[in-house]
Point group: C2
Chain length 252, copies 2
DNA sequence: AGAAAGAACTGTACAGTACAGTTTACGATA
DNA sequence: TATCGTAAACTGTACTGTACAGTTCTTTCT
C-alpha cells in the first residue's frame, strides 16, 4: 500500500478550466493527504512529524503549510476525510438486511462482513488513533464516534426493523437490539484488536463470534423460538464444558 | 518494577542508617509514582515530561532517574502497578455472584457495580492510555489486557458457574456466556466513555444498560421456556488461520 | 558519607517561518 | 504556431524558538 498513488493522471481530452486551475495544488494536496494518512495511522499523531509528511509526500514543507494551516488542522481534516467513507459501509450493511432469505445463515454472513470490516488493520488503527487523541481533539472524536460506530448501529437498527416488518423478528427496542447485535459480535474482537496490535485476528475467530453472537441474538428475539428456520441443533452435546479454572484467556 | 528493595524492616528498635536511607528512598519513590500516575492518566505518555513529574513529586530529576532507569520503565511500572489493583475488583465480583438470592435483581445490581467501576474516570483514562500506547508498548498492553479486562471476564465466568451449579442458569459455554454478559452491559458504556471524554456517564445510563443487558442475558440462559443452549461453533472445525483484512478495510 | 536538591548543560527533535532561487501554467504578442 | 512575460506555486535549505530526555556538577541536608 505504498507508492500506489491515485495518479489518475488527468490525461487528455476535455478538461475544464476549473479542473485545470485546481490541478497543481490539488495533486500536491492529495499527495500530502495520502502520505499523512499512512503516517498518522502507522505512527500516531505525536509520532509523526511534519518533515516526515512532507518528505513522504515528496513535497516541500512550505507546500504542506500552504494547504493546511497547522498540524492539528491537517490531522483533523484527515480523520474526518476517512470517517466520511464509513457511510458507504453502513448503507451497504442495511441493504443486506433487507435481502435476507435464510434468517440465521444470512445474519451470520452479515455479521462476518461487519466484523471483518471493523477489525481490519486500518480501521483498528484509526479507532486507536481517535481514542488516543480524544482528550486533545474532543470534537473530532465526537464526530468520528457519531459517523462511524454510531452510524453502523443506526444501519443495523434499520436493518432489523425491516426484519420486524417482515415478521421474522419480534423486537420492541430497536436501538437496544442493534447495540446488542453489534456488541455481541464485535465487542470481544475489537478489544482484542485494540489491545493486542501484534496478534492478528483470524477469520476463524470472526466466524465463531459471528455465529455464537447471532445465535444468541436470535434466541432473544425470535418469538416462536424456532418458528421460522431450522434452528441449528448440532448433534447432542457437542462442546465440552469449558474449563472453569483460572485460565479463561486461552482461546481468544 | 522489581527494583523495589525488599528490606522488610521487622525490627523497630535498632534503626540502622541503611534503613533510614531505604525509607527515605521509598518515600521519594512513592511520591514519584503518585505524581507520575496522576500526570500520565491526565495528559498521556508523550504529553507528560520528566521535569513535570519531578516537579509534581517535589523531587529532583536526578532522584527520578535514580529510581527509574528511563521514562519508558517508569511508565511501564506505573501501568503495571495500577493494573494489579484490578485483581481485587475482579475477585470482589466473583463473590457477589455466589451470594445471589434474587437472580434478576441481584444480577442487575452486580452489573451496575461492574459497569460503575469500569467507566469510572481513572479506569477509562487508563484504558485509553494503554490503547494509545499499545503499539509502542505491546507487552505492556498485553499484560494489562490479560490482568484487567480478561480477569474480569474470568471472574464473571466463575460467578456464572456457581449459578449453574445452583441450577439457576443453564449455560454450556461459560466463557462465551461471560463475554456476552460483560459486553451486553459494558460495551456501549465503555465506547461512549472512550470516545466522548467530556460527556459524563450518568448512573441512569448505567442502570439502563445493566437492566436491559441482564434481562436479555437471562432470556438467553434461563431454561424456563426454551431449554436450548448456545451451540459452540460447529463450522469452525478447520478454522482457517488466514488473517483478515484487505479489501473491506480500505474504505473505512 | 550517602542521598538529595538544584541548576546548568548536552544533544536532539520538532513546529513553524524566511528567503532565495526554480518551475509551471497561461495568456499575450509576434 | 512559436516565443515570451509574468504571477503563482513550488523547492531546498537554513533558521528561530521551544521542548524534552538524560547527564553532570556543585551545594546542601541528615
Amino acid at each position: 500500500m505504498q507508492s500506489q498513488p491515485i495518479t489518475t493522471s488527468k490525461a487528455k481530452a476535455p478538461v475544464t478550466s476549473a479542473q485545470m486551475a485546481a490541478n497543481r495544488s490539488d495533486v500536491k494536496r492529495r499527495a500530502i493527504v495520502e502520505a499523512a494518512t499512512r503516517l498518522f495511522l502507522e505512527k500516531g499523531y505525536p509520532g509523526t512529524s511534519m518533515d516526515e509528511i512532507a518528505a513522504a509526500a515528496e513535497v516541500s514543507k512550505v507546500t504542506v503549510y500552504k494547504q493546511f494551516h497547522d498540524k492539528d488542522q491537517l490531522f483533523s481534516d484527515i480523520i474526518l476525510g476517512i470517517t466520511e467513507r464509513a457511510e458507504a459501509i453502513a448503507d451497504g450493511l442495511q441493504i443486506r438486511f433487507e435481502q435476507i432469505e435464510d434468517l440465521e445463515l444470512d445474519l451470520i454472513s452479515i455479521a462476518v462482513s461487519y466484523a471483518t470490516g471493523v477489525v481490519s488493520p486500518d480501521v483498528v488503527r484509526l479507532r486507536r488513533l481517535v481514542i488516543a487523541e480524544a482528550v486533545h481533539f474532543p470534537q473530532l472524536a465526537a464526530t468520528y464516534f457519531a459517523q462511524a460506530p454510531q452510524r453502523g448501529l443506526a444501519a443495523v437498527a434499520k436493518g432489523l426493523s425491516s426484519l420486524v416488518a417482515r415478521d421474522l423478528l419480534a423486537i420492541d427496542g430497536l436501538d437496544i437490539a442493534a447495540m446488542q447485535f453489534a456488541y455481541l459480535v464485535l465487542g470481544p474482537l475489537i478489544d482484542q484488536a485494540l489491545f493486542l496490535p501484534t496478534t492478528e485476528i483470524t477469520s476463524g475467530q470472526i466466524e465463531q463470534h459471528a455465529t455464537t453472537g447471532v445465535k444468541s441474538f436470535l434466541r432473544m428475539y425470535t418469538r416462536g423460538q424456532q418458528g421460522l428456520l431450522p434452528t441449528e441443533m448440532p448433534g447432542g452435546s457437542t462442546s465440552p464444558k469449558s474449563p472453569v479454572g483460572g485460565e479463561v484467556a486461552k482461546s481468544w
